[in-house]
Amino acid sequence: MDFLIDFLSRLVSQFQSPTLGFLIGGMLIAACGSRLTIPDAIYKFIVFMLLMKIGINGGMEIRDANLVEMLLPALFSMLTGIVIVLLGIFVFSLIPSVKREDGYATAGLFGAVSASTFAAAMVALDEESISFEAWVPALYPFMDIPALVLAIVLASIYMKKQNQDEQNDIDVWAIVKDSLQGSALSALLLGLALGLLTIPDRVFESFYEPLFRGFLSVLMLIMGMEAYARINELRRVAHWYAVYAFVGPIVHGLIAFGLGYIAHILVDFSPGGVVLLAVMAASSSDISGPPTLRSGIPSANPSAYIGASTSVGTPVAIAICIPLFIVLAQAVF
């Protein structure tokens, strides 16, 4: 009960966080039919800046880190990605109104990771002064890639069985490569390498670090406008997608939180790290995931999985899951 009151009061206070405010603001002005737009070039640059900041910062601090500590959390990240996809495919297979391929693609997208949700979580942790290991951002690909690869591979096997596709050889390495070449993971890995191998402290402190919060606020606005814009697409498909997109992030996050808790006990994984792991699990990919799935499972309907993720999944991950897991961590650790 106490926990619930604490959670609810924190949730209310999170609604005053500018991150969430910008997200909701974006939805509202889109709903009001505003003609305000953020140009695509700015959107792409903001995503680049956020991922470079996260990457460089991680890279700079990894230098002195004991990377053996990372092994178990990395394993758990992979496990989370795989479990989310299998669970999603299973759940959708129970719903007759959902085409099988659409279920595979949606499960893959929710198993993958959203850079913007992750960045929002980092700012929220910073507000609460909760720290985490420097290498946590490097867990991102460990969850993202297995989820996408698994969803695509299973969908391909399924479609082969259906004889729909005749000459489809499944090339796992091609899917991994395609994921790594996506703009989000490229920027993150580039940032990590630059942070690790060069001495970017001055440029980091004068540019990437101070602009982080501001660019994130603009990105949240864009995500909000986009969430509203895609609701129509979502409406055209089965309502089960909306239900999945609402419940999924919470369940996925709790699974990861549980695994993170085990890592906390076994290898002293930090509470902040556990929260970030849970938020990664709760998030669904918005930048690289959709095109990768579109090529990998071409017969799946993008309106279904992108609508579900952008219109419901991401708002739930940011507005509910981030405060939820922070409060959980404060209660549990």
Binding site: I38, Y43, P290, P291, R294, P298
Partner: protein
Amino acid sequence: MTLHIAEKVVIVTEKIIAKGVCKIIDECGATGYTIIPAGGKGSRNIRSTTDRASVVDDFSNIQIEIIVKNTEMAEAIMDKVRARYFKNYSGITYLEDIKILRPEKF
């Protein structure tokens, strides 16, 4: 000035398959192609041409125009693109008669 009869194949489809379509065009032996950014509405969706930040920008359209001298090549391109992509991706294709200046270019 003598003008020569030729055909223009037009393909309007999703940007995300641009590479694959261009490969088909090359394989069919065309000497080149022109790509134009496009948006539009068809049976499947509305795609915007505005420069609003589209979180999944790869899904917007392109119009590809290919000038070929003989109808067989034109039909081969149209047929292959349709067979390979138009079940899973939005797209239309059509043909126009044109007149070219230098037949040796195409």
